[in-house]
Symmetry: C2
Subunit: 324 residues, 2 copies
Amino acid sequence: MSAPVTLRGIGSFHVGGRVVEIAGKPGKEMVFSRGGMPARVDPNGHYLVEAMYVQYFLPERRRGKFPLLMWHGGGLSGVTYETTPDGREGWLNWFLRIGWDVYNSDAVERGRSGFAPPDVWPDKPHSVSMEDAFARHRLGETWSADAAAVKPIAGNQFPVEAYENFARQFVPRWTSTDDAAIAAYTALVEKVGPAILLFHSQAGGFGFPIAQMLPDKVKAIVAIEPAVAGDVAQAARLKDIPILMLYGDFIARSARWPRMRQFGVEFATAVRAAGGHVEVVDLPAVGIRGNSHMMMMDRNNAEIAAFINDWLGRQGLIGNYVGG
Amino acid sequence: MSAPVTLRGIGSFHVGGRVVEIAGKPGKEMVFSRGGMPARVDPNGHYLVEAMYVQYFLPERRRGKFPLLMWHGGGLSGVTYETTPDGREGWLNWFLRIGWDVYNSDAVERGRSGFAPPDVWPDKPHSVSMEDAFARHRLGETWSADAAAVKPIAGNQFPVEAYENFARQFVPRWTSTDDAAIAAYTALVEKVGPAILLFHSQAGGFGFPIAQMLPDKVKAIVAIEPAVAGDVAQAARLKDIPILMLYGDFIARSARWPRMRQFGVEFATAVRAAGGHVEVVDLPAVGIRGNSHMMMMDRNNAEIAAFINDWLGRQGLIGNYVGG
């Protein structure tokens, strides 16, 4: 067990959302709990939808100059940054222990943010299979329910033996909720910013646009294999925000990642051309090998966290202990 | 801000669940993130469903002799026990600060536990309206989107002014997932027990049966307005487990609660007849007035937590500091 950690605060809140009214539906009788009493249910009424859950951990000895907001990728929740599937400490604990105020969220539609009734979101949620996620996230070559047929990638850092545990973290996703997610994340940045955004994969499509909307509220961006970049036409809006983009290993052997990485590189080029500071780091190029798309869970996750923390330090974002 | 708290551990894990296979479905092309690359998606494959998310907080100076497991009620998640809708500390922090190892979970289907594809759970989830929840939980007489028409109950302890914030915590519920929830909670008790179960409302239908299945793993039960009791025919299985059942105020004016309370009282009588120790406490009878069904969020939530903690102490479940 690691050393104890002293916190000056732990808690949670929801941000954003809107009240919608559903009307004109027939009532029905429901039994909610087996053995419970039947209740007459009127589905008409008001619902608060599209809010977002945020949990915060505030260390007593704060060193990070601004809160660090962790935003997970698609089909996942804030669990991404907690204990790894094989039971090691995740990035949430790592950054907390070193002195960062950490705000970890579940995007709209997922986890403790809940999801809206079908009257509000008519399309169906999509669940990703274990086979699909394994290949898409470059956790290995192929996964099979037959353990003997699972093909890892030699040198891969993902704890493949704990893959079922990672699959327990998967949550269904809608493809129609980007605007709602952006609205809620915007509310979060307005509430706790100025802040540092650390986002993963799908959340590139939330973090970059929000930083372009609210550049004064964002002090740095750490983009972990962003699946989506920002608006190139608005690149200049990021010129005063230091940006680190991290990519793992095995990109070239993936069907999708070479092009997705290329979008990121092109966006970085546009921001630089507008006077901004963007570092695109392929981890193997700096001697950190074997990383999957889920590098915050990989065996060397602490090494990558330290790389990010050192970079934040070089941006002048780490100070002396505050508070206590 | 309250005093700092020192933890010897913070983390999360998932328990339980099962791998299912979906076969024979057509593939489709999907774009997961706006601006992202289209991906060919094969919905066939394996899915890990019905696992449960658990987050734990372990104080450095432990006084509780066993872990305290907090199980929320229907249509809600573990957020129930976190920061209250009006921003005060909830029971999770209260019990942590006084020295209990706290394990807070999201039942199967909800929050960070995720939910299964419709091939596995064919029925539709149900969302509870703000009007319905307000009345059902005895937060006040009636809620209306017209603030002037909201009718509180005189003397009610629920922070009605923060009701929208509470509604942000609502999550949809299925009515077909009781067995899956019981299986996952059983896995939790087997993993971290012997333990103390503190459960609310719907979770009476999980906590009582599991204690009856695994009486050696349960050292005490704190049932907060359980909506469902245990199996009267198996009452003797609880005879060595001290049980506290708490009910709030305004029961008599509710359409549903007089009968639901009566089921609890009858179950308590059966356990006592079998030699068990059950205390049924109506809070107004001990001078604690105005409590809603969501007493862990009420303005006097700390007073009720202290009442529970004192009761646990009288059962011999609080010791000297351990560890550190």
